[in-house]
Symmetry: C2
Subunit: 140 residues, 2 copies
């Protein structure tokens, strides 16, 4: 959503705003997409769709992510209102991550996407073999 | 999908393969996700969901993408069997990109995701303002 040019005195209302368009590089929705997109954002959201996680457990679930990268990913998702960070007043304090209602809606879509990708890995491997064979043929 | 250890003589069949798990860093499905998951992959697939595009038109649609990045993105998606590249024997030759049936299924999921993100940009902007306000308070 990008505010359209309005006079400074005008009360902004729905009609004064353009519709969000993620294809437009300056639209705020593009920034949101950038935080969700990327394998770590997608995998973190999909993992949290299974339930709340503490940091280290989430890091084990999202196999291969570095501590720093997961921390940055969660912070961006928290700032965008997709992830909630709860600090429990125990000793030592427990920090738990979970999805907001909006985060849960996004994560549900991502889980569908991941299941589709997982179910079609065979299709992809066959396509790659064919592509590489054709590329080799073209080089001859 | 990762082949489980089998003896070299064994005929591989479905039972000899582990189920794909995108959370596992070495699973082939993780590689597929990496090609789909970046913002350019997502936007290119979503654009092609509207119909076939020639390269330059697709580049205009996916606002902000460089020629090199779009080219790399399309090549990876073609290799993975999501995008088809058709060269028409005209002078000069026309190269057109479209979705394969598998690509269309992935793209349909991504379009749903983008529509959700676009519809909730207001939620995100409010969450960011609240997050930044709280962060400023904590610093005091």
């Amino acid at each position: 959503m990008t505010a359209s040019p309005v006079s400074p005195d005008a009360e902004p209302d729905a009609d004064d705003r353009l519709v969000a368009d993620v294809f437009a590089r300056n639209c705020d929705s593009r920034r949101v997409l950038e935080n969700i997109a990327g394998k770590w954002g997608i995998l973190a959201l999909a993992a949290l769709h299974e339930g709340a996680y503490r940091f280290n457990a989430l890091r084990r679930r999202v196999d291969g992510v570095s501590e720093k990268m997961l921390s940055q990913t969660l912070q961006a998702l928290e700032r965008d209102g997709l992830v909630r960070r709860d600090v429990q007043a125990t000793i030592p304090p427990h920090v738990e991550y979970s999805l907001t209602p909006f985060g849960a809606r996004v994560a549900a879509q991502l889980v569908d996407l991941l299941e589709l990708v997982e179910s079609e890995v065979g299709t992809v491997l066959a396509a790659r073999a064919e592509y590489d064979r054709s590329a080799a043929d073209r080089k001859r």
